[in-house]
């Protein structure tokens, strides 16, 4: 069985690196692919590249709205079944609900509001990585 791969759609380097470190902490076997923009994401969706086990999506991309990518991913039969986490800095209380309506499996706030959030973030990653492990062995 192929090792699990995570597709990260994220323009900000430090955020990507933070996520990549969390994933590496969980398992060195997890492969991470990164896309930096709306355009790259839609290009990837149109291509025949292997499908990842988990998608992490940032909403605020330099060239467009992540919600459109979410719609595209959830509207495409090839990606529609892949678990998807929205990872966003948005504080608008309406955004998580909107994402969930579009089919997102989870919403994680990027911001560290105080002590304990990093741990919360980690546990969320752990939760998904464990699911990946269960799914892929």
């Amino acid at each position: 069985m192929n090792p699990p791969t995570v597709l990260v759609i994220e323009d900000l380097d430090s955020d990507f690196e933070m996520l990549a470190r969390r994933l590496a902490k969980e398992s060195a076997r997890i492969g991470v692919t990164r896309l930096r923009s709306h355009e790259e994401a839609l290009g990837w969706l149109a291509s025949a590249e292997p499908r990842p086990s988990l998608i992490v999506l940032d909403l605020l991309l330099p060239d467009g709205d992540g919600v459109e990518i979410l719609e595209a991913l959830k509207g495409d039969t090839r990606t529609h079944g892949i678990p998807l986490i929205v990872w966003s800095g948005s504080v608008d209380p309406a955004v998580p609900a909107a994402c969930q309506r579009q089919g997102a499996d989870a919403f994680i706030r990027k911001d560290t509001d105080g002590p304990g959030t990093e741990e919360g973030f980690d546990s969320m990653i752990t939760h998904w990585v464990h699911r990946l492990r269960n799914d892929y062995g």
């Binding site: 900000l12 430090s14 955020d15 690196e17 933070m18 605020l60 560290t112 509001d113």
Partner: protein, 722 residues
């Protein structure tokens, strides 16, 4: 017409222009338009033209004197409106005057003697050239006296109510003076004044002379308005006799289509006035009228300049004031001076400001009530307020005169200027209110002896200039209000734009600033993870400090974003169970209360309210959090409750603590965004946005929030929701 003819009961309707008779110092022929036939003739024509009336009536003048008739025709063609000329008829020379009457002509013949008087005219005119101001009145009276030989010449001026006053006089012989005397309007009734607007002179050379009837009897129907010789109404003759006058001449002074006054000449005996003399006096009358008119125009002009000055000075004052009406109040002392008023009241937005000598507040309120109900024009001026508003008698000492400006067409805004009562003595020529009416009709008054009247309840009248100045002031106020309104509209637009800017800023702060801040935090984490071994304890401590500061900055941005979104949000009112809301909060705050050992008090159930539940929850959360946080006592408590405002009956919530208190000078500042009175670390942090947000929420509900506190002992926040 006989002397015992019944005269109409009132002078004002007397048909003075159809007297049916002439005075005997000349004769009258009424000829048809074509000048071919004599339609009517005065009974005395025999004395003048040498042919009895019966011989002339119905005949053409040409039948008696062909060339005289032709010269008459020429005259009529040359001056279609009528005129005066020298006329020879059957060898006799006359001073003739032709005037239109209906479809015919009045041909009046007088003596041609006395023409040499005309020589005196140029000199008389020269005497008036350099005379200015009120001196003109006496000077013109003297000139007319010299020209005409009348013993008393008066310049008689009509007031607005048509009563008259002698403003200039020249006397000779034993004539009594009427200088400064007033005459009631009835002395020169309306029909007489109407005739004065049409004829340039009226001469009665002999009050005792018997009137000559016009033949045939239907001659009574001849319109004698433009006749020089028209007989005198018996009531007027009686009037003159009562006054001791034997002859009179009146020259109307007409200015801008209104009868300004008269040059009135009296003689004790009969006094013939040759046509040439009469003519010369008429010229003087024209000159005097022109000079008075020019003088008046000059006064109006300077009045206008003064009024404009008021306006421009007011504009200067207003330029330094935010509010037009405040400026008006400020400018009032200057206005008092300009308007020669003793006091003023400015009533704007339900508040009355009194300055100087004014009626009491309640009296001014009553006056305003009356003005508003009466719907007076924009400018209302009276120098006898109690005549129109009887309650004003109570304060006539300070406000017999009122100049009122309605400052707004919509709101009840008034500017009132008061003038004190001036108890004046008016000198009348005889008791002015005496009316002698018997079964024969009305008789003129008998006495012209000086009669003093004390006039109360009146102030100095407002002049045209003052009223115009007030009008200009009103124009200025209106213009400024309009300008302010326009500026307000543009300010609103600007404010809206600035709000958009602020929202954009909040958006940028929330999103764009957060990313780099988050990156700083991330790199702190990476540094620690990758290089912890290489860093000294001191370096690691500094790294942690960066991390803490990064978190604080992030929190501030969150708070700013939240504050700005609260400012933008529309409140959604609904019934809120306040006790339930507090119960929920207690659940959230429970651990904090326990941790800090704070006693919780709620002495009575809280009333339900209409409010936005989410926002109200935030208000209570912020206040309770602060109450728990800012406390250094060993035994702490927090109390929440509600009182009722005695004035409005509205609930007033409060959150009380026995904490550190707030100094009086900080009681407003604490509501400013990001104003913490303590260091970030003291009392467990906080962004400093909480109270700013709380205040915004309370005010969005139409409520108010305020602080009671004793420094060091505790604080109570009170707030209302409507």
């Amino acid at each position: 017409m006989s002397e015992n003819l019944r005269v109409p009961r009132t002078c004002d309707t007397e048909a003075v222009h159809r007297s049916g008779a002439i005075q005997p110092h000349g004769t009258l022929l009424v000829v048809e338009d074509s000048l071919t036939r004599c339609r009517a003739v005065a009974a005395n024509c025999g004395e003048w033209v040498g042919m009895e009336a019966g011989a002339v009536l119905g005949r053409s003048l040409a039948a008696f004197d062909q060339s005289a008739a032709e010269s008459l025709l020429e005259q009529a063609n040359a001056a279609p409106g009528g005129g005066r000329f020298r006329w020879t008829f059957r060898g006799r020379v006359f001073d003739a005057t032709m005037a239109r009457t209906g479809d015919g002509w009045l041909l009046e013949l007088e003596t041609a003697e006395g023409r040499e008087k005309r020589q005196a005219l140029p000199e008389a005119v020269r005497r008036l050239v350099g005379v200015e101001g009120d001196e003109l009145f006496d000077a013109s009276a003297r000139v007319v006296a010299d020209l005409s030989g009348f013993e008393r010449v008066m310049v008689y001026r009509f007031d607005a109510d048509w009563h008259g006053c002698v403003v200039g006089e020249h006397l000779s012989g034993e004539m009594a003076s009427y200088r400064g005397h007033h005459f009631p309007a009835g002395d020169i009734p309306e029909p007489a004044r109407a005739i004065y607007m049409k004829v340039p002179v009226r001469v009665i050379p002999d009050v005792a002379a018997k009137a000559v009837p016009i033949l045939p009897e239907s001659g009574a129907n001849v319109d004698l308005t433009r006749s020089l010789l028209r007989s005198v109404a018996p009531v007027h003759l009686e009037y003159l006799r009562n006054m001791g006058v034997g002859a009179s001449m009146s020259i109307p002074l007409r200015i801008d289509g209104r009868l300004w006054g008269l040059l009135a000449c009296h003689h004790r005996q009969a006094h013939p006035v040759p046509p040439a003399t009469r003519e010369a006096c008429m010229v003087i009358g024209d000159i005097v009228a022109m000079k008075i008119g020019a003088l008046r125009e000059l006064r109006e002009l300077s009045g206008h300049v003064a009024a404009t000055k008021i306006q421009s000075r007011f504009f200067d004052v207003i330029a330094r004031e935010q509010n037009v009406f405040d400026a008006l109040v400020k400018y009032t002392p200057q206005l008092l001076e300009f308007l020669k008023a003793g006091g003023a009241a400015i009533h704007v937005n339900g508040t009355t400001t009194l300055l100087g000598q004014t009626p009491g507040e309640a009296q001014v309120a009553g006056l305003l009530e009356w003005l508003a109900a009466r719907d007076v024009g924009p400018v209302f001026a009276t120098h006898e307020l109690s005549r129109e508003f009887p309650p004003a008698l109570d304060f006539r000492d300070c406000a017999s005169g009122l100049l009122a400006l309605r400052l707004s067409r919509v709101e009840r805004h008034f500017g009132l200027w008061f003038r004190p009562e001036v108890v004046a003595t008016v000198t009348w020529a005889g008791p002015p209110y005496e009316k002698a009416v018997d079964e024969d009709g009305m008789h003129p008054r008998k006495s012209f002896a000086t009669w003093k009247e004390t006039v109360t309840g009146q102030s100095e009248p407002w002049t045209e200039t003052e009223i115009r100045g007030a009008q200009e002031l009103l124009n200025a106020v209106n213009a400024l209000v309009l300008r302010r309104t326009e500026r307000l509209v543009s300010l609103n637009a600007e404010l809206e734009r600035k709000n958009t800017d602020l929202n954009s800023f909040a958006y940028i702060a929330a999103h764009d600033l957060k990313e780099p801040l988050r990156s700083i935090g991330n790199y702190c984490t990476f540094l620690r993870e990758d290089h912890a071994g290489e860093l000294s304890v001191e370096a690691l401590r500094k790294l942690d400090t960066i991390r803490v500061l990064q978190r604080q900055a992030t929190e501030l941005i969150h708070a700013l974003n939240h504050f700005s979104s609260i400012g933008r949000v529309e409140i959604q009112r609904q019934p809120v169970r306040t006790d339930g809301l507090i119960d929920d909060l207690l659940h959230v705050l429970g651990p904090r209360l326990t941790e800090t050992g704070t006693e919780w008090r709620r002495p009575a159930p809280l009333p339900d309210v209409d409010a936005d539940p989410v926002l109200l929850r935030e208000v209570f959360l912020n206040l309770l959090t602060n109450a728990i946080r800012y406390n250094d006592k060993p035994e702490r408590w927090v109390e929440i409750g509600c009182e009722t405002d005695e004035g409005t009956g509205q609930p007033v919530f409060y959150v009380s603590d026995n904490g550190i208190g707030i100094r009086p000078r900080h009681r407003e500042v604490v509501f400013s965004i990001f104003r913490r009175l303590h260091t970030q670390d003291a009392f467990g942090g906080g962004t400093g946005a909480g109270l700013a947000i709380t205040k915004t929420i309370v005010e969005k509900h139409g409520g108010r929030i305020w602080i009671e506190s004793t420094y060091g002992e505790g604080t109570t926040f009170h707030f209302t929701l409507s």
